[in-house]
Symmetry: C2
Subunit: 416 residues, 2 copies
């Protein structure tokens, strides 16, 4: 078949060396990494990535917000085909979340250059500066937002770290001029493919190394507050209480059961609860909680949210409680580009990598990139589905399989 | 009838003046009081109480742990008939919780002395130093424990304030010699009657000013921990999660519903919840929570606890979660002495105060005193059932009614 390329050779030892070298910046104990954006460890990692690209003969550029680009110019010029992921981590996270996507993009382009020479169309590997919100809770994809032109002036001061400093201050400390953030904007990208660890157990359960991601789920975060009357735990008979804990517990059970009943890929999580006053012997006056609800299908998503909202209102009304909520995050699903999905499927077949198709339940930089170009993603199997922990692990064999699929897809896009 | 005494006269203005004067020590804004044991405000209040007693011709004694006693010697000597309550408060609490019981004992004995002269048997009013655990979370009725001989040597250093100091250090700062705590022990008390605000809405709903308390409820505090597997809120399908929040919510709903279904006087409260890691986008790994369950009937109480424990085990097992708990507080119910109940009923009838009988859902010093003497309690109506807040309020009329019942009962016990 004309579309198939020769097997692309990826050196497992080199992949492992790159993972370990990048993980040395911000290393925590045996396998952990704590590398927040604009920290000294992060600066070290961006220099390392830049040096790799330079050594491979790619043109290196550190942009205005600290994204690092390695560029292999195509003979025909035009818009660039880009791959990459973020280089920051949770505190601590592991070696693979984000980092593997930046490493894979670099290794794939280096391999294509070595094995196939100069491409027709330009290829770029990118290490995004920030995705985890692990230093700035509202940074919200700082790197890919800069590239897609979604950062506002006021974000420079309003994006604040857990420890208080603004992202503007942090950028200056890292040697960047925050006022130039607009220069990171790109309008010359033809396609973006992000490789990432799965962060879930679906590939492991299916016995497959790699998935092609056809959608990134829609996410909504409700920050809800249910209020009753705080009173003495002993002196108030049950039937006249207005106990927000009773209401909260029924709501939490209900929203979790709703997603369970709807089945994959619907998920709903109650991850955060704050009780006031939070004493054993006092009926609470208020319970604040979050509901994280996700579905990649735009219609099913709206139905899931409507069920959750209906339940919250019904329980509160029936129990004589006050309830309100704010929607703090509300990301529409991002559908992968059908052409890119086709390239990925052919690439997997050409490299003899068995794959499945799934939606991503997690958010990714690709969602931001979708504002300026067509996107798709590749997932690599995660052991036990773990992520955001030093325990996260993907085998070298699986990483090589993922990188082969990526490289073959980039070959299909840039070399013919 | 021989048992009836003349109406005892209690001056409403004097009651109100005493409440306001004692509330001035540690006053917070309009109606709040913040007066923790051994604080300067507390020292002021104990001196005030002692001065009142001295002015009324009672023999005043500050004991080894700071309880204040006002004694009216009976002509026949023998064991003393004691009334009182605690003089410390929540931070902030109101003017009535505890304070009203000490004030009422003083006013009742002063009135009896003025209106009936020297009693046959000795009467004493007591202001206990500590009941609220508002400075030392494990003080656990410090005043009445000292009197009943339930303080251990190690408590002097193991009872520690929220701010770190030991109760031994606090006692020294208040001018007391902590090593003499055993001198506060009493074995010469014939009966103890505690007047207290209800702290609940039952009297208000019944339209009555005063209740006679036939039991203090049994209380158990479970500190439970349910553990599953923390994972990414998006990438883990519902049906393979081990989500401790789902288990906790089902347990909280279940234990609350169980007490509700059993009906008065069973109560169960989930007042404290701590989630780990407590982020919106992460399935929790652990939920710690308390279950406060109370019943004044020894048999029904055991059944309530068995139902709660059975539910916790069943939910955890069914959901593949780990659960364990510690019982941090476990007070047996305290039954009021039938003879004292009879005295109180006659006293209420003689003073034409309409009363009902109820169990106390809250813990009280009377439980500790029950270890060394027979006990009973009187409740005074609380507006909206509120307590442990500056908003707590009892009307002067209701307080006078309660004090009349107390005074008439003390008359019955000490004058005939």
């Amino acid at each position: 078949m004309k579309d198939l390329v020769e097997t692309i050779s990826i050196d497992p030892d080199f992949v492992e060396r790159c993972v370990l070298e990048l993980a040395s910046f911000g290393a925590v104990e045996e396998t952990g990494v704590s590398r927040t954006v604009y920290s000294p460890e992060w600066i070290g990692a961006t220099r390392c990535f830049g040096q790799w690209c330079a050594d491979a003969g790619l043109a290196v550029r550190h942009d205005a917000v600290g994204n690092v680009w390695g560029r292999l110019e195509g003979s025909q010029g035009g818009k660039a085909i880009v791959s990459g992921s973020h280089i920051d981590s949770q505190t601590p996270g592991g070696r693979y979340d984000g980092a593997l996507g930046a490493i894979s993009a670099f290794i794939a382009i280096k391999a294509l250059k070595e094995q196939f020479g100069t491409p027709l169309r330009t290829l770029e590997a990118v290490a995004f500066c920030e995705e985890e919100s692990s230093r700035f809770p509202n940074a919200n994809f700082w790197g890919s937002r800069a590239i897609s032109g979604r950062i506002r002036d006021e974000d420079l001061t309003e994006v604040r770290a857990f420890s208080g400093e603004s992202i503007e201050e942090a950028m200056r400390e890292a040697g960047l001029d925050p006022l130039r953030f607009r220069e990171a904007r790109r309008d010359d990208i033809a396609a973006f493919i992000e490789l990432h660890i799965e962060q879930g157990p679906i590939l492991e359960q299916a016995g497959l190394p790699v998935a092609i991601v056809d959608a990134i789920t829609g996410i909504r975060h409700y920050h809800a507050s249910v209020r009753g009357a705080a009173n003495h735990a002993g002196a108030f008979p049950m039937e006249i209480r207005r106990d927000p804990m009773a209401g909260f517990a029924e709501i939490a059970s209900g929203v979790i059961d709703t997603a369970h009943r709807l089945g994959r890929p619907a998920v709903t999580t109650v991850g955060r609860v704050l009780v006031s006053p939070n004493f054993p012997g006092i009926i609470p006056g208020q319970v604040d909680f979050t509901v994280d609800a996700r579905h990649p299908d735009p219609v099913a998503r709206r139905r899931l949210y409507a069920m959750h909202e209906g339940l919250m209102l019904e329980v509160a009304a029936r129990r004589g409680l006050d309830i309100d909520w704010n929607v703090m995050i509300d990301h529409e699903p991002t559908l992968s580009d059908p052409q890119l999905l086709g390239h990925l499927a052919k690439a997997a077949a050409s490299q003899k990598v068995p794959v499945m198709t799934m939606a991503s339940g997690a958010a990714h930089d690709a969602q931001q990139m979708a504002a300026i170009t067509k996107v798709a993603m590749i997932f690599v199997r995660s052991r036990d589905g773990r992520s955001h922990t030093p325990e996260e692990f993907s085998s070298v064999e699986d990483m090589v399989s993922g990188i082969k699929v990526l490289a073959a897809a980039l070959h299909g896009l840039a070399y013919r």
